[in-house]
């Protein structure tokens, strides 16, 4: 009978082909994409953008180990990114100055390992007290710790380097894989390697008993106690790993920028990683990856087009919180499943929603851009497609009102539709 059960059980568990498709293939695709990019001859700009994206992907994924998987809302995750990064920068300096001993033979390429150790160590020390609480107290503690460490950053000059920060030079020590680490393309390969390693590592973590328990603790910490586990302990261990992977990202960043300043541990990057993970979607493993890609792009490129890019970011975030709590990934996967199940119904409703969202957003863009130019005092004018729009022109206001009005109407219609389907 037991054998029969095992067979039935196996029938239920995904087949190895499915496993491969769901678990290994995406990682391979990631690795291939990452490996192929340089053959398109990206510009230097592109290279540096990609490197930052890679760093942010690992950082956001590590954050989601806490928020999405572990149910721990942290406002201070950058602390571990920063401390890991600082550890790596200090190691980089040690490599630079080493004459004999360990550091002479340590390649810069493996600095993220130091970062991981630094972040994990910081997680182990800080997590010890903070993981004893969950929920809002945990969030508040993380906020306090972040502020504390950030303030300490200006106090312990030899560790954090004060206002100047600590900088190093990545072109020292033994070379690996023929990468001198000087040019941005070398750095790209370095980042690419660690992005894949980090992503695979974090993914693998979700498949371990501890990873599963972390989800169980998120869902129901009380019950976890009654299957023999200490939820505080689970949280603490997860916290250490999340700190470690954040530190890994910090180590990547240390090599990429060759500098770390106390701002790196402050609330601002902690907030940014929260946005990346949440906007991407904390319920899907791929969510933070999507979030990191989108937000890094916005940060470096949208900021060139619009001074108000942070406002767009804020609006996006609020939109997600209010109407799409599963984030961009949720929207994406939802559409994908919808398309397979009920293409027609989805498409009509979907298009209403998309059209509504786009119209509303266009209206907002006109409003914001016109306002930005009106306010900054450099005398510029918003000229989409050659149309001059200023705060004084009625055309601008007509556009704003019509676009936003139409957009919201459509959105409402789409939502009413979906609610009625859901309720029936």
């Amino acid at each position: 009978m037991t054998d029969a059960i095992t067979t039935r059980m196996e029938a239920l568990t995904p087949s190895s082909a499915e496993k491969f498709r769901q678990r290994v293939l995406p990682l391979i695709v990631l690795a291939v994409v990452v490996a192929v990019i340089p053959f398109f001859g990206p510009s230097r700009t592109m290279y540096s953008l990609l490197s930052v994206t890679g760093i942010n992907i690992v950082f956001a994924l590590s954050y989601n180990m806490l928020l999405g998987r572990g149910g721990m809302l942290s406002f201070g995750h950058a602390v571990y990114f920063g401390l890991g990064g600082y550890a790596a920068v200090h190691a980089m300096r040690a490599i630079e100055n080493a004459e004999v001993g360990f550091w002479t033979s340590y390649p810069v390429f493996f600095l993220p390992v130091i970062g991981f150790a630094g972040g994990a160590l910081a997680g182990a020390v800080i997590g010890w007290p903070s993981c004893r609480r969950a929920g809002v107290p945990f969030a508040m503690i993380s906020l306090g710790v972040a502020e504390l460490i950030a303030a300490a950053g200006f106090m312990f000059g030899s560790v954090f380097g004060g206002e100047e920060g600590i900088s190093g030079d990545r072109m020292n020590g033994p070379e690996l894989f023929g990468l001198s680490m000087g040019p941005v393309s070398d750095v790209y390969w370095f980042v690419a390697f660690w992005t894949v390693v980090g992503t695979a590592g974090i993914y693998a973590f979700t498949r371990t008993p501890l990873g599963k328990l972390s989800e169980a603790t998120r869902d129901n910490p009380e019950r976890v106690q009654f299957v023999g586990y200490d939820p505080q302990r689970v949280r603490y261990l997860v916290f250490i790993f999340a700190g470690g992977f954040a530190g890994l990202a910090g180590g990547m960043s240390a090599v990429n920028f060759e500098i770390f300043t106390p701002e790196a541990v402050s609330l601002i990057p902690s907030g940014f990683v929260l946005l990346m993970a949440y906007i991407g979607g904390i319920k899907h493993f791929a969510g933070p990856v999507i979030g990191a890609v989108v937000l890094t792009y916005m940060q470096s490129n949208l900021s060139d087009y619009s001074e108000a890019w942070l406002l767009y970011l804020g609006i996006l975030f609020m939109g997600i919180i209010m109407y799409a709590p599963s984030g961009l990934a949720g929207i994406l996967f939802g559409t994908w499943h919808g398309l397979r199940e009920d293409p027609v119904g989805l498409v009509t409703q979907w298009w209403t929603a998309v059209l509504g969202a786009v119209l509303t957003f266009l209206g907002l863009i006109v409003l914001i851009e016109t306002a930005v130019r009106w306010s900054n005092g450099y005398g510029e004018v918003f000229e989409p497609f050659g149309v001059e729009l200023t705060m004084a022109s009625p055309l601008a206001w007509v556009l704003i009102v019509v676009l936003i009005g139409a957009g919201i109407t459509l959105l409402r219609r789409a939502f009413v539709q979906s609610r009625e389907e859901g309720g029936a």
Partner: protein, 390 residues
């Protein structure tokens, strides 16, 4: 011909925003002026602002962005912390990317180390360093017999520390009898209310406040001091920071002094007066302030024309050791450490001046004996500059 693109990397938002914004406007204005006169070797000068939020790491991000967009000149000044990172980054970049060298025009970051131990061939400083300025300030102080106690307050980073150290050194050298009753550092750009600091100063019985504060830290410090009824001298580096005059008001007249490389009430040529007027007309909410920005852009122009090339390396060689006739005297870019030598002035906040600031009848003046000649500011340097091969 390709444009000469200068990336201006300074704070354009946040508490230090006004300071950075002022510099950007002056750079743009100087560039326009050069362009109106045919540009640099026929090439137009473009200045673009990159907001670094006074953060070294962010500055490097912006620097990278500027590089990607083909900028070969960067200008920066607000914060020696940032300058330090940028000097480093420029050196690394120039070493790693021969043929794409970048020059760093420093118009205000005055930590002395940049032209001493950490000097770089690619870095040119158009402002006097913290030691040179303190030397001039303490010359005045040395002559004030009624001053017995001095209080030094500054921002907690390399520049503020350098100012504090220089003040202690020069005071003990020139007036050993003056007691230094306080040498305090506060966080950069974070203090919102200086009252506790000011009351500490008042209770220390100090006769003079010496400060290198700039930006919001300058404005808020003097505001708190004036509010608390401080009526003794305040010796500053940056009393001319945007907003300070308004904060000080009449109460500060005669009390606040600043060491500068020029101000708008000095005797000057009509041509320069016209330049200043044009600036103040174009940017009606700002006053002309950074003489050294003008010098930097004009010297860049002169150097390029002298070199007959717009290549940064050629310009650097021409700039190194160059002499330039500025509106208030000759400016020399020392060849040994790339520190500019120029006449300095100890200016006093005064009433009923010809050119007021911030729409007030108040402004800066200096007497004839408050001019310090360029040569007098020369100091020993420990710089051992590595020059590229030619």
């Amino acid at each position: 011909q390709d444009a000469i693109k200068i990336a201006y990397i300074d704070p354009l938002s946040g508490p230090m925003g006004p300071t950075g914004d002022q510099g950007l406007k002056e750079f743009m204005f100087a560039a326009e002026h050069v362009n109106a006169n045919g540009g640099i070797n026929g090439a137009m000068v473009e200045v673009t602002g990159f907001d670094n939020k006074v953060n070294p790491k962010e500055s490097l991000v912006q620097f990278q962005k500027a590089l990607d967009q083909g900028y070969r000149f960067i200008a920066q000044g607000n914060g020696s912390s940032v300058a330090s990172a940028l000097i480093d980054a420029v050196e690394k970049h120039n070493e790693r990317n021969p043929g794409e060298e970048v020059l760093f025009l420093n118009y205000a970051a005055v930590d002395p180390v940049f032209t001493n131990d950490r000097c770089s061939f690619w870095h040119f400083r158009f402002d006097a360093d913290a030691d040179m300025k303190m030397d001039a300030i303490t010359d005045w102080l040395a002559a004030q017999d009624d001053i017995k106690k001095a209080y030094i307050i500054g921002q907690d980073y390399s520049f503020g520390q350098a100012v504090g150290a220089a003040a202690e050194r020069f005071i003990t050298e020139k007036r050993p009898d003056i007691e230094i009753v306080g040498n305090e550092l506060h966080p950069l750009a974070k203090v919102k209310d200086f009252t506790p600091y000011v009351q500490k100063i008042i209770s220390s019985d100090a006769d003079v406040i010496i400060t290198g504060n700039w930006g919001s830290d300058m404005v808020l410090l003097v505001k708190a001091a004036i509010d608390a009824g401080w009526d003794k001298p305040i010796l500053t580096y940056y009393g001319g920071s945007v907003g300070a005059a308004t904060a000080m008001g009449e109460a500060a007249v005669g009390k606040v002094k600043a060491i500068v490389e020029g101000h708008t009430n000095l005797p000057m040529s009509d041509e320069h007066a016209a330049y200043i007027d044009a600036f103040e007309e174009k940017y009606s909410s700002n006053d002309y302030y950074y003489q050294r920005v003008h010098n930097a852009v004009f010297m860049l122009d002169a150097a390029a024309e002298q070199a007959g090339s717009n290549d940064p390396v050629d310009i650097a060689f021409a700039l190194s050791g160059m002499e330039f006739e500025g509106p208030y005297g000759t400016v020399t870019m020392r060849e040994d450490n790339h520190q500019a030598l120029q006449p300095m002035f100890l200016a006093t906040f005064t009433k009923d001046v010809e050119r007021g600031v911030e729409d007030l009848p108040l402004g800066w003046t200096s007497g004839p004996d408050e001019r310090i000649e360029a040569e007098a500011t020369r100091a020993e340097t420990t710089c051992q500059m590595e020059r590229p091969e030619r």
